[in-house]
Structures are given as structure tokens and as C-alpha cells.
């Protein structure tokens, strides 16, 4: 079969679908986008709102406690959440940079770059947050015990071992969970995009 024969066959396709009417098309314009970038943006907004809701709950909890380690931890976490607003703004800026108006190859390149940048930023921010919060916890404990008492308490070999094991397990599990979550949400899609770009570059 030659290409001209295929073209003739292909033309028949136009008769094979039911056209959408004007009102259906008008309704589509009011719909919600399901593009990967739109979904990522919605996720960021969801995380932002969730962070503030948890932050407010922690603040209420923190101020009702009389004092001590737990109260300081709760309030410091709220401050940390406030700082995280910048992180969300940065994430949204990364996503807003994306424009799908280019040719297919350029669009793929940009999308891969945006997605990789977004995922790298996401992983790094959590890789910093977990150790930071661990050491913050230790710091508040030190404040509560007093420097001398704290050093005496923490320098026991048994306590060092517990802390090292706890920190390692917590960090490894948290990072594994973050990586798994990101891979599940966007990793497979990213691999697919890279393979399509690879085909174009070949």
C-alpha cells in the first residue's frame, strides 16, 4: 500500500466521530486542566494549605503547654512552616516558568528540565529539613536540661547509640518515603518523557 492509498483511507476517519456541539465546547473551557504542570501546581497549593492548617494546630497546642521541650518544638515548627512559605513560592515559580507553546522537542526538553528541577528541589528541601529538625530537637532538650546536664546525659555510650540509630533509621525511612512518593507521582512520567526525547535525539 502506498502513502496515497493510506491518505485516502485516513480521510474516512473524519466521518467516524461524533462532533462536539458548541455548548459542550464552551463548557470545556470552564473545566479544570489535568496536565502534569497543572497537577503539580495543585499539589503545591494543597501542601501549602496543609502546612498552614497543621501550623495553626501546632501553635494552639504549643501555647497551651506550660513550657518545656515539647512547647518549644511546637512553636519552632510553626516558625519553620512560615519559612517554608518561601519554599512553596519557589516551587510555584519553577512550575510557572513552563510554557507548552514550543515545538514537540523543545517542549519535551523544557518539561523534563522543569520536572527534574522541581523533583531535585523537593528532595533537597526534605534532605535538609529532617536533619535540621533533629538537631533543633536536641537543642531544645539541651535548653531544658541545662548545658551540663545535657552533655552528661548525651555523652553516655548507650544514649549516643540510641540517637545514632534513631537518626539513621528516621532519615533513611523519610528519604525513602519521599523518593517513593515522588517516583510514584512523577518518576515514571519523567522516564517516559526522557525516552521520547531520546527517540527524537537519536
Amino acid at each position: 500500500m502506498e502513502i496515497e492509498d493510506l491518505k485516502d483511507i485516513w480521510k474516512k476517519q473524519s466521518e467516524a466521530f461524533t462532533p462536539k456541539d458548541t455548548s459542550e465546547l464552551a463548557n470545556m473551557l470552564k473545566g479544570r486542566s489535568t496536565s502534569i504542570i497543572a497537577k503539580l501546581k495543585r499539589n503545591v497549593w494543597f501542601e501549602l494549605v496543609f502546612t498552614y492548617v497543621v501550623g495553626i494546630a501546632l501553635l494552639v497546642y504549643g501555647v497551651t503547654l506550660r513550657s518545656g521541650w515539647l512547647s518549644s518544638m511546637s512553636i519552632s515548627l510553626v516558625l519553620l512552616f512560615c519559612l517554608y512559605s518561601f519554599y512553596y513560592v519557589k516551587k510555584l515559580k519553577l512550575l510557572n516558568r513552563f510554557d507548552a507553546n514550543e515545538n514537540l522537542r523543545e517542549n519535551l526538553r523544557r518539561l523534563i528540565k522543569s520536572l527534574k528541577g522541581y523533583l531535585r528541589f523537593y528532595k533537597r528541601s526534605y534532605a535538609i529539613l529532617y536533619p535540621l529538625y533533629f538537631f533543633l530537637g536536641l537543642f531544645f532538650k539541651a535548653v531544658e536540661y541545662g548545658a551540663e546536664g545535657f552533655i552528661e546525659h548525651i555523652s553516655r555510650p548507650q544514649m549516643i547509640a540510641v540517637l545514632v540509630v534513631f537518626a539513621t533509621v528516621f532519615f533513611a525511612c523519610s528519604m525513602w518515603l519521599t523518593n517513593w512518593y515522588l517516583k510514584k507521582l512523577y518518576g515514571n512520567h519523567l522516564e517516559k518523557l526522557e525516552s521520547i526525547l531520546g527517540e527524537l535525539d537519536a
Binding site: 500500500m1 502513502i3 493510506l6 491518505k7 483511507i9 485516513w10 474516512k12 476517519q13 473524519s14 466521518e15 467516524a16 466521530f17 461524533t18 462532533p19 462536539k20 458548541t22 465546547l25 464552551a26 470545556m28 473551557l29 473545566g31 486542566s33 489535568t34 496536565s35 502534569i36 504542570i37 497537577k39 507548552a100 507553546n101 514550543e102 515545538n103 514537540l104 522537542r105 523543545e106 517542549n107 519535551l108 518539561l111 512520567h189 517516559k192 518523557l193 521520547i196 527517540e199 527524537l200
Partner: protein, 163 residues
């Protein structure tokens, strides 16, 4: 409905065959095709204000539709399954009387759906008589590269159609 929106809907009305073809080639079931159709319309609407008529309207539509179908729209699976092919077949049969032409169209659709996503995009445009220059512009490769790839795609299609 405001002026721009009305103008845009008329444009989609006029060229919705192009969007339907992209949806049929890139989505397996009816529901997913409808979702993709809506997403393409939305993406076209979003970039409508930036369309300055530098390229043909169909080139612009192909660019946005293919970008959406290939890279922007995340779906469950892109593998061609038996039931998916049946669905395409049913879609055609709903509107036809079952002659040789329809069987050829089914075979062509099934064959195209077995090509890679890039190959599908290129052959679709070629079958719609889009010049190589515009195919090159839409995909982002040189015209020579389009020629070489089109030869390979034609060969693949021929084998798939006769298999």
C-alpha cells in the same frame, strides 16, 4: 459568550476533526479520549491569545494537541491492549456500514497505534497532507530528518498493515 471565546469555539468547531484524530491515536478508551479532548481544547484556549498567525492554524493546533497528548497529559497506560483496539473498531463501526474501506481504516488505525508516539505524530500529519516543512516545525527536527523518518515509518506501516 464573549467575542474571543465565540471566535475560538468556531475555530475548534471547524477543526475538531484534527483533535479527534489525535485523541483516537493517543488514547485507548472512550473516557480517556474525552478527557484528552477536553485537555487539548483547554490548552488551545490558553495559548489562543498568543497565537499571532505566524504559522498555519492547523500547524499551531497540531503543535498544542501533540504536546498535550505526548508530554503534558499523564495517563494510566499507553500500551495497546486488545480491548482498546476493539474499542477503536467499535467507534468506527458505530458510524459505518462495514465495507472494505472501513476495514482498511480499522487496520490503519490499529497499525498506527503500534508505532511509537513520535512516529504516530508524524504519520498522522503526513496522512493529513501537512507539508514536511510544517511537520519539521511541529516536531522540532530538520526536514531531512523528517524525510528519513517518514521512509522508515512508511516501511513499518506497510509491514504492520500486511501482517
Amino acid at each position: 459568550m464573549i467575542g474571543d471565546e465565540k471566535q475560538f469555539i468556531n475555530l475548534i468547531n471547524e477543526h475538531q476533526g484534527l483533535i479527534h484524530k489525535v485523541c483516537i491515536m493517543y488514547e485507548s478508551d472512550r473516557e480517556a479520549r474525552n478527557d484528552l479532548f477536553q485537555e487539548i481544547v483547554l490548552q488551545l484556549w490558553r495559548s489562543y491569545s498568543t497565537f499571532r498567525g505566524e504559522s498555519k492554524i492547523t500547524t499551531w493546533m497540531y503543535r498544542i494537541a501533540l504536546n498535550t497528548a505526548i508530554s503534558g497529559f499523564r495517563k494510566q497506560t499507553r500500551k495497546v491492549k486488545t480491548e482498546d483496539l476493539d474499542d477503536v473498531h467499535l467507534n468506527i463501526s458505530d458510524n459505518s456500514s462495514g465495507d472494505e474501506n472501513e476495514e482498511n481504516l480499522n487496520r490503519l488505525q490499529v497499525a498506527i497505534r503500534q508505532l511509537s508516539e513520535i512516529e504516530r505524530a508524524m504519520i498522522m500529519m503526513a496522512l493529513d497532507e501537512v507539508p514536511y516543512e510544517e511537520i519539521a516545525e511541529t516536531i522540532g527536527i530538520t526536514q531531512n530528518n523528517v524525510r528519513v523518518r517518514m521512509n522508515r515509518i512508511r516501511e513499518k506501516l506497510r509491514k504492520l498493515m500486511t501482517a
